[in-house]
């Protein structure tokens, strides 16, 4: 821990393999990494952020060994640029929720009827989503709002989170009247207890096919973790956090 | 070891100066502010670059613009004392001096130098714990620590009060008895120069106007400008007439042919008959009498005004035969009281023929660098 970071570079195995993970995996992945450490003694270093940001950083040679994106398009872009070992594996499919903090006058429902009314009568001044430009959950939120025909009305009130975690932050904080963010985050007790939410129908947005891939910098430890993520123990945790699981992937 | 310096440049500070100072001699550079005297000193010290010229001390060439020689200040064996002491504030008096002592000198050299200035008891004090006079003595000790071959004083006595100044003068005089260094001192105070210097050099606008022993320069200025700079208040007009026969005195017509006073003076053979001249006379060559007398050059004058400044009274006299002329004279208050001088009375000024110093009206300035 008190290692000197000089010169050896971040890709050294000290501290464990370096993972870039989409923010919606915040709680799920922390749980999986803890279990992994318990089982193998190997710690894992995780950085959370928006998938688009990580893709850009990896293109600039950032030292990440494993990239867990919330949108497979980013993984494919990297693979096309020959930055990855292969085209990766699907590990989960995500869902979004409409959330209102306790203090809010908004009542969340699956058809967003109260949201529509609230936008009309001025109850909504600020509404949080992740930045659609580089966060998959932001893109999904926009698509959902567009399907409901609410995008024009909500746009002037939007507060954009740099990643879906920050969007959840804003939604929970009480300084907004609500927001749309990841289901996996809403299931965490700290957030669930802060308000009420409802799952939004899958047909309102493009599926959030979450794909992960090893980069060329991946060491043995990273590969080991990559396999672990596709095994039952890890998959159970994903399920616990509301992700839909792909069919058993082909063995690598 | 004689110091010789010839300096010339047109800018940024114009200079056209010449310095000669022999070992054991004290030369004062005198002039008004902006006259370039400090620049000349700094150039000699090596602290300022000059366009053209040559500076030598004995055989050593410190600066020669033709040969591209410029010895940096730290390598010239000079000691310098500054107007505001320039002592290193974070060091004690002893350490200030010790810093300048060269390697290989005895261990107590610094303390000894301070002892020479009666400062050994104060050696551990910092400059801010010393009085102005004490600081300047430390500065002097420090300047001597390098065993310099030349001592430079830049308005070294201006920042202290009168009594302290007096004791510093004494210190300097004692020093000159101990060491035979050439010393160049910059001052704007003529009295100080007169008191301490063997020779003075008058500078104006960066140009050396005249140099020589103080009494000579101050009573025989080369021209009107020098006369003004050495404090001669009255510059009179006149016409010079050569002696009519050998051994006879020359005649100076104070004023002009129409109205004036005839004075006798000596003929030095330098002036043509009938030449228009300016002339000056310093106060020591004018004697004031209450009654007329038989001595030559007696000029009855109206005592127009008297201004008293402590022990001295400045009189403004106007000759009766030439009322537009002015002659100022300083006398002691005691003398004035003795003669019962009052404004409006008539006094008789006896002008010493030998004291009259005549300057031709048009005279090309002698190039000091020629």
């Amino acid at each position: 821990m008190l290692a000197l970071p000089w010169g050896c570079g971040p890709a050294a195995a000290q501290g464990g393999p370096l993972v870039a993970a989409a923010s919606d995996l915040q709680f799920a992945l922390d749980g999986i990494a803890a279990a992994y450490k318990k089982e193998t003694g190997q710690p894992v270093r995780i950085s959370y952020g928006s998938s688009g940001n990580f893709m850009r950083q990896i293109l600039q040679d950032a030292p990440f060994e494993l990239f867990m994106s919330a949108d497979e398009a980013f993984v494919f872009q990297l693979a096309d640029q020959k930055r990855t070992l292969d085209r990766g594996a699907l590990y989960a499919t995500g869902r979004i929720v409409l959330f209102a903090p306790r203090s809010s006058p908004l009542r969340p429902d699956g058809q967003m009827t109260d949201l529509r009314a609230a936008l009309a009568d001025g109850r909504i001044t600020r509404f949080a989503i992740a930045n659609p430009d580089h966060a998959p959950y932001g893109r999904a939120a926009r698509e959902a709002l567009q399907s409901a025909g609410l995008w024009e009305a909500v746009q002037p009130h939007l507060v954009l989170g740099e990643n879906v975690s920050q969007a959840a932050q804003f939604a929970v904080s009480g300084s907004t009247q609500g927001g749309v963010f990841a289901y996996s985050l809403a299931l965490a007790p700290t957030i669930a207890n802060a308000g009420s939410y409802v799952l939004l129908p899958e047909n309102m947005h493009q599926p959030l096919r979450q794909r992960m891939v090893l980069t060329h910098k991946a060491g043995a430890q990273a590969r080991a973790f990559y396999s672990y993520l596709q095994q039952p123990a890890a998959r159970a945790v994903f399920k616990q956090y509301g992700f839909a699981l792909p069919v058993e992937p082909a063995r690598r | 070891m004689t110091l010789q310096a010839l300096l010339h440049q047109s800018g940024p500070i114009p200079l056209h100066a010449r310095i000669d100072c022999a070992a054991g001699e004290l030369l004062a550079l005198v002039g008004p502010s902006g006259s370039g005297k400090t620049s000349v000193l700094r150039a000699v010290a090596g602290l300022m670059h000059v366009g053209e010229g040559r500076i030598t001390l004995g055989d050593a060439v410190w600066f020669d613009s033709n040969k591209g020689v410029h010895v940096p200040a730290e390598q010239r064996p000079v000691g310098m004392v500054f107007q505001h002491y320039a002592l290193f504030p974070h060091l004690s008096a002893l350490d200030n001096v010790r810093l300048a002592v060269p390697r290989g000198a005895p261990a107590d050299a610094a303390l000894q130098l301070l002892a020479d200035m009666q400062l050994d008891k104060l050696s551990s004090r910092r400059p801010d714990e010393l009085s102005g006079g004490q600081r300047q003595r430390v500065a002097l000790a420090r300047a001597l620590a390098r065993q310099p071959q030349l001592l430079l004083l830049d308005e070294a006595f201006s920042a202290v009060d009168q009594p302290t100044r007096q004791s510093l003068y004494d210190e300097l005089i004692k020093l000159r008895e101990r060491v035979q260094l050439p010393i160049v001192m910059v001052t704007h105070d003529l009295r100080e120069a007169r008191l301490l210097a063997d020779r003075i050099s008058i500078l104006d606008g960066g140009t050396t106007l005249q140099d020589g022993p103080p009494e000579r320069v101050m009573s025989q200025p080369r021209n009107a400008r020098v006369a003004a700079l050495v404090g001669l208040r009255d510059i009179h007009a006149g016409i010079f007439h050569k002696a009519t026969s050998v051994g006879a005195p020359a005649r100076l017509r104070w004023g002009d042919a129409a109205a004036g006073i005839d004075l006798i003076t000596s003929d030095k053979g330098r002036l043509d008959d009938g030449a228009n001249v300016r002339w000056v006379i310093s106060g020591e060559h004018v004697q004031l009498h209450a009654e007329p007398g038989a001595e030559p050059n007696m000029v009855p004058s109206e005592l127009h005004s008297m201004r008293r400044l402590g022990e001295i009274v400045t009189l403004q006299c106007r000759p009766q035969a030439l009322p537009q002329a002015r002659l100022h004279l300083d006398v002691t208050t005691r003398f004035a009281r003795l003669l019962n001088l009052q404004a409006g009375t008539v006094v008789h000024l006896e002008i010493d023929p030998q004291g009259i110093h005549i300057m031709p009206v048009k005279r090309a300035l002698l190039d000091p660098l020629a």
Partner: protein, 224 residues
């Protein structure tokens, strides 16, 4: 409490201050004594990081050091890893954006040394080096110390540039300021609170030490 992040921040601050010490001293001394016609231009350039938004600085640094840049590529070849996203890259960025914090107090300190002291030193036979060592540095030491402290304090808190150039790589570029940001994002408010309090105490201590160092002795102010 993210100890590795705190340790990283401390190392970054210390390293930056140590690098800027000799660089700052020589640059400050030159600037204080120089009458070069272009001096105002240099001063403005060196003060730029004070006013430039950190993201602008971060952007230009990324362009200069990132994987696509000449510097980045050469570095990668020599050391086997990227300049950006590494501690070394962070150190380079940190040195650059701290220049005015180190330089300005030092320059002021050198400027207050009266010019006749320089002249006196020379006429005492002191070489330029000895003058620096025995006269200028002791007289300027408060300003130098102040510059170092400002640099260290500023580095501890720097966020925008670090994030852009370093990312948030645990153990490598995740400084304490970044870690606080991450903790808030992952809803770990307690950790964020603890670390913020630590930084607050550190900053206050720095300011107090700095003020103490720069105090003017009462005697000097009233000296006639």
């Amino acid at each position: 409490m993210d100890w590795p992040a705190l340790w990283l921040s401390l190392q970054l601050s210390l390293a930056t201050a140590l690098i800027l010490l000799p660089l700052g001293v020589f640059a400050a001394r030159w600037l204080a004594n120089s009458r070069h016609p272009l001096k105002p231009v240099f001063e403005a350039l060196l003060a730029l990081p004070l006013v430039l938004p950190p993201t602008v600085l971060g952007f230009y640094l990324l362009v200069a050091m990132g994987g696509e840049s000449t510097l980045g590529i050469v570095f990668q070849r020599v050391f086997g890893h990227t300049l950006a996203f590494s501690f070394t890259g962070l150190l380079v960025a940190s040195v650059i954006f701290n220049i005015p914090f180190a330089l300005i107090p030092m320059q002021r300190a050198f400027e207050t040394i009266p010019t006749d002291l320089h002249d006196a030193a020379r006429t005492c036979g002191l070489s330029r080096w000895r003058t620096l060592w025995r006269i200028e540095l002791p007289l300027a030491r408060r300003g130098i110390a102040s510059g170092m402290i400002m640099t260290a304090a500023h580095t501890m808190g720097e966020f925008g540039v670090v994030l852009m150039v370093g990312g948030s790589i645990p153990g490598e570029t995740r400084t304490i300021a970044i870690s606080i940001y991450d903790k808030v994002q992952s809803f770990d408010m307690q950790a964020a609170g603890t670390m913020s309090a630590v930084l607050l105490v550190l900053s206050m201590t720095t300011l107090l030490v700095s003020a103490w160092l720069l105090r003017t002795p009462a005697a000097a102010r009233h000296h006639g």
